[in-house]
Amino acid sequence: MANTWQADPVLSVEHITMRFGGLVAIDDLSFNVGRNDITALIGPNGAGKTTVFNCLTGFYKPTEGMIVMRHEDGKNFILERMDDFRISQFAKVARTFQNIRLFAGMTVLENLVVAQHNTLMKASGYTVAGILGSRAYKRAEKEAVDKATYWLEKIHLIDRADDPAGDLPYGAQRRLEIARAMCTEPKLLCLDEPAAGLNPRESDDLNKLLLSIREDQGIGILLIEHDMKVVMEISDHVVVLDYGQKIADGTPAEVKIDPAVIRAYLGVDEEEAPPIAEKLITEAIARAENEPPAQQGGR
């Protein structure tokens, strides 16, 4: 097949299995993420999506299998062998969580600058030159602030740069988290339910932000999402999990009519599944567009 994610993957998950005692959270899962694709990881609750993320970012070490991050310069990083901070620093994977984990007591700007810690640390000669106020450090710090400013403008938060991050409204905090992850200059951005709790307008803004990130930064985005409208609208590639196993993998159009997916989501027979599913998903999308914010988002 000539899919982008098979031709040039930025991330290959190869046969990973994750067991917690007797529980198999992920069972022999393999998939690829295209270098410049938006890939959605979907599945019913408890399917193992967040566990996959935790394996990617070093929180869990998979019991079996391999996760390879492939940079375009040919360097490969085997993620399950790396410490979590090295995954961000060298393999260039960034992530956000389902719940917001900003540094609430630090300012909005500081949240973005702290994400550039490693660059600054090097420039400051591991703080010594920084204290002495060397010119190279000042330049590096200015660059860091410039980059933060670029992202603040992009997420429309430039006016609140010096407010504590915890004081921002919910939707703005979500955007700030994505911006902060981007400040680490990732080659793969992993977002765990970025649209959860957003109202339709904020959700649309988020879609635009993600599309522009893919466009401008040329990176891959892997997202877990329950909001089918977001998934169908922006993703190039959808991977569906159920009970820790991959049950479908393809373009949104392919996945939408995949009988296994419909069975997992709706629990109906295979023969009658496709037409029902298409109808239901179309309906769900229509509903999502009209629904009040409170009922939308993650379930």
Partner: protein, 311 residues
Amino acid sequence: MEYFLEQLINGITLGSIYGLIAIGYTMVYGIIGMINFAHGDIFMIGAMISLIAILAIGLTASASFALLLLALILVLAIAMILASAFNWTVERVAYKPLRGSFRLAPLISAIGMSIVLQEFARIAQGGRPKPMQPLLSGGFELMHRTTEAGEFIVRISTIQIIIIVTTLALMALFTALITRTSLGRAQRSCEQDMKMASLLGIDVNKTISITFIMGASLAAVAGLMFFLRYGVIDFYIGFLAGVKAFTAAVLGGIGSIPGAMLGGLVIGLIEVFWSAYFSVEYKDVAAFAMLAVVLIFLPQGLLGKPEVEKV
């Protein structure tokens, strides 16, 4: 009035020393949420190393002031480096393996390390108090009045000036370090969410180690100052000074660096004034009673942030 002024100077000097030690408690608490009970003993180690270094260099009061000052800076550097090495090792050996364990585990381990350090100093250096001739004499007269009872002179000694100036300089340096440098930002981010910090590429273990090193260097400064001011140390000084400094950190609001400094000053002043106007025997009681009173009305301490739980 003169008496008051004199005691005020003494109180500020003592408070500065407490404050310097308290910063180490507060920084470590801020970043990993544990009380490093061995920190008072790091202060003692700092004082011991200072003494050894002074003797090794062969420093005596007969040297010229400039030479003395230079030599003391060298002694200070040695004490800071070695005390940092001690604290770094303590963290590596006794706390890091327990990270992620239940909260009391590192606390108990810290008490153990405190005993280890004390006993090490006792065995290596002997149990007897170690006095020394004052290295720096001299000072300035601030006030001079002849009364019927005799002459009353308010003086600030050179060593008091050195202590106060050094403390102020270190305070400024550390505040700048925490608020303006990338290292400080990393420390603050680890304080709030270690996992998230590591996902942003910050080496949390290294940041914690650096925090221990920073705390130890300040304790070493306090150790040298204490030794120069009081002229006698033993292996046990770390205990009481540690408890006082810990009290200061709690009083000021644990986790807050300006709070630690302020708490140190308050404890130092209470102790000195109580001794001056009431009875020396009860000075510690007064200091701890003050802590109790403040904590009843301001549970988060003087400068601590109140914990607001958002629901």
